[in-house]
Amino acid sequence: MDPINAPEYSDFRREVRTWLAEHLVGEFYAHRGVGGPTDDTAWDVRLAWERELSKGNWLGLSWPVEYGGRGAGLAEEIIFEYEYARAAAPARVNFQALDLLGPTLLAHGTEEQKRRFLPRILAVEEMWGQGFSEPDAGSDLASVRTKAVLADGEWHIDGQKVWTTFGDRADWLYVLCRTDPDAALRHRGLTLLLVPVDQSGVEIRPIENIARSAEFSECFFNDARTTKDMVVGGVGNGWTVVMSTLSLERGSALMPMQLAVEREVGELIEAARHSGALDDRRVRQRLVDALIGVHIMRSTNLRVVSDLLGDRSGSTAAATASKLFASTHHQRLGELAVEILGAEAIFGSDDNARKLFLLSRAETIYGGTSEIQRNIIAERVLGLPR
């Protein structure tokens, strides 16, 4: 019933489990469940952990061997992520490169770019940040104005990007630029450029988020430079490349999210048991609803993963719907956590519930707002007219 528990993968699963048991120890063990896509907590420990993973050759499992990966299949990748989340290993810090830029380069990058960048991502030598959104280009990404002009064999970049996760830690940025301001269709004149951070033309200023963590940044480009060959996917093809980055349908990313939420619900139940709140039927009913949400995430993930592994497409609609479901459900869980822990979460110092409550607000915004998700579902899945 559970495709990833199929016997043909049991050797691989054992290998993952054994490695995690042997290496997720000491300081790393103490930081189980720490960090996330909008949480830079315990950065140094997490960075050290990522290098440990690199030594074990666990990063970029599905990337080709010639670039430092293992050339493994989707099933192995899913199993690894599942076991990783089950062990509650610390959240990886360079996910921008591992989950987004790396696969984008594999699909659209030149051979030189792959050889230059991919091994260093897997060796945790270079960190990456994303330069897509701008102050006036959020959901309407095609209206980016950051300009890039080719002169004397170099790109000259001027403009501003924002919401760059872990931007102040980045060595390189992948930046969506307008290279042809005259293109009749505004998404035609865009190009994706790889830009080094260490230069006078790039300034990165951290922004404090709702929980007062400076996890994202704004990036200013003032005649910033990058060499001519740092174009991904060809000049003028930026929109196509970026759309494929944003739509990377990663079955492997679904399981960890679900397991993390499952763990949070379990912790909340224990907290409610401890405080006596569990004696209240209304609280129990709401906790059961929280569990039902996790169960649905799991059931949908199993459908999607089964389809991915079997190369079928019956659950495409479910895959599209899963981000909207998970983000909404996670916010409700944050609200419930604050309600159950009550005064301690609001007036006292219970940081866990508060963090869940605050940070989950980002999930309906990043990676395409819920409103954009609804447009996509309505038009592309249901076929409603534009």
């Binding site: 019933m1 495709p3 139940i269 048991r273 569990l278 039927r281 129990r284 009913q285 906790l287 059961v288 609803d289 569990l291 039902i292 169960h295 649905i296 799991r298 059931s299 949908t300 199993l302 459908r303 089964s306 389809d307 079997g310 079928r312 019956g314 609609a317 479910a318 719907a321 909207l324 479901f325 409103e371 998700q373 609804r374 447009n375 579902i377 309505a378 038009e379 899945v381 249901l382 076929g383 409603l384 007219p385 534009r386």
Partner: protein
């Protein structure tokens, strides 16, 4: 409705869909609604002869199809789409599951009659409540000279008036036990109820020293019934998921053709975003129903939890989609002529059948040790 369906199962879905397109059109549904029988005997017979729907999970040696719950789940999803008005949930799920679990020659004879399409049967458990709870059973069974007789009442029996045999949960000195009562037995009165959802029939029954046959062990029926309950919940969830999907499809079709202010109303974002949320609910309902069916089929440890979860989620999703469907159809959706109300009523009656979502949250809380 398994998590992954085989090509053979998809072929069964096609066969079932073809059958329903012929025998469960909107006008078929409406003519059954207007009649007293509660189902179309000719369609019922055809279903037995051409597909063997009634005996799908009954072993081949008893004349059935010998399939598993995964196949039954697919059939239920399809019947849910068209609101097929027939005593299938009672006969092919409730009664068949109970009889298969009980075993023995008497059960075997009844199963053979079901598989042949010759017997409609149902199970009567709940009394004051809608969900199944052993403490709710007050109907008493007493034995005298080797013969059992029942006294008590069951107020809402699914397809109670259509059934040739009612399997009744009653208390003996040893505990909850299961009895077969033939329609027309002495001291049995069955009154059809005028339910809101005419596509599904209910009846109230009174037992006054009514002769009955004990099936299975005296006092040991509750474990059997718990398994039957899980199967019924999973099957109902599939039906609800199918209904929810069909009513969303119907609504989206209308939103594409209905024009106001010079454009299709489906192009308005106020409508689109609501439809997108409904799609999320429909897909989530399908996931919950599929997981529950797979868990029940495999006899997994979490089958009861999964079945109640599916019951909660699919009940709410189907009702929400059906209610939104009426709103998005506007005035025409409020008319008797339009099918929106058929789904709306079916959604509400299904939400109550076998217990409300709140009852199942309590059941889940108990099963996972919150209380």
């Amino acid at each position: 409705m398994a998590l992954i369906t085989t090509d053979e199962q998809e072929a069964l879905r096609d066969v079932m869909r073809g059958f329903l397109q012929k025998y469960s059109t909107e006008s078929d549904v409406r003519s059954v609604m207007d009649g007293d029988d509660g189902y179309d005997a000719a369609a019922w017979r055809t279903a037995a002869e051409q597909i063997g729907v009634q005996g799908l999970v009954i072993p081949e040696e008893m004349g059935g199809g010998g399939y598993g719950f995964d196949e039954l789940a697919i059939v239920m999803e399809e019947t849910g789409r068209t609101l097929f008005p027939a005593p299938l949930l009672s006969t092919a799920v409730l009664a068949s599951s109970a009889l298969l679990a009980v075993g023995g020659s008497q059960a075997g004879e009844l199963l053979a009659r079901i598989a042949g399409g010759d017997l409609i049967a149902t199970v009567a458990v709940s009394e004051a409540k809608l969900h199944w709870d052993p403490d709710d059973i007050t109907t008493l069974a007493s034995e005298s000279g080797g013969r059992w007789a029942l006294s008590g009442s069951k107020p809402y029996i699914l397809d109670g008036a259509q059934a040739g045999v009612i399997l009744v949960a009653a208390c003996t000195r040893a505990g909850v036990s299961l009895f077969a009562v033939e329609s027309g037995a002495d001291g049995l009165s069955v009154d059809p109820l005028d339910s809101m959802d005419k596509t599904r029939r209910f009846a109230a029954a009174r037992f006054d020293d009514t002769p009955a046959v004990l099936l299975g062990g005296d006092g040991s029926a509750w474990e059997t019934l718990s398994g039957v309950y899980d199967r019924a919940l999973a099957a109902l969830a599939c039906e609800q998921a199918g209904g929810a999907q069909a009513v969303l499809e119907m609504t989206v079709e209308y939103l594409n053709v209905r024009h106001q202010f010079g454009r299709p109303i489906g192009s308005f974002q106020a409508i689109k975003h609501r439809c997108a949320d409904l799609l999320v609910e429909v897909e989530s309902a399908r996931s919950a129903a599929a997981y529950a069916s797979a868990a029940v089929a495999a006899g997994a440890d979490d089958a009861s939890v999964a079945a109640s979860i599916a019951k909660v989620y699919c009940s709410q999703a189907f009702y929400h989609v059906a209610a939104e469907s009426i709103q998005m159809h506007g005035g025409i959706g409020f008319t008797w002529e339009h099918p929106a109300h058929l789904y709306f009523k079916r959604a509400k009656s299904s939400e109550a059948l076998f217990g409300w979502p709140a009852d199942h949250r309590d059941r889940i809380a108990k099963l996972i040790g919150l209380v």
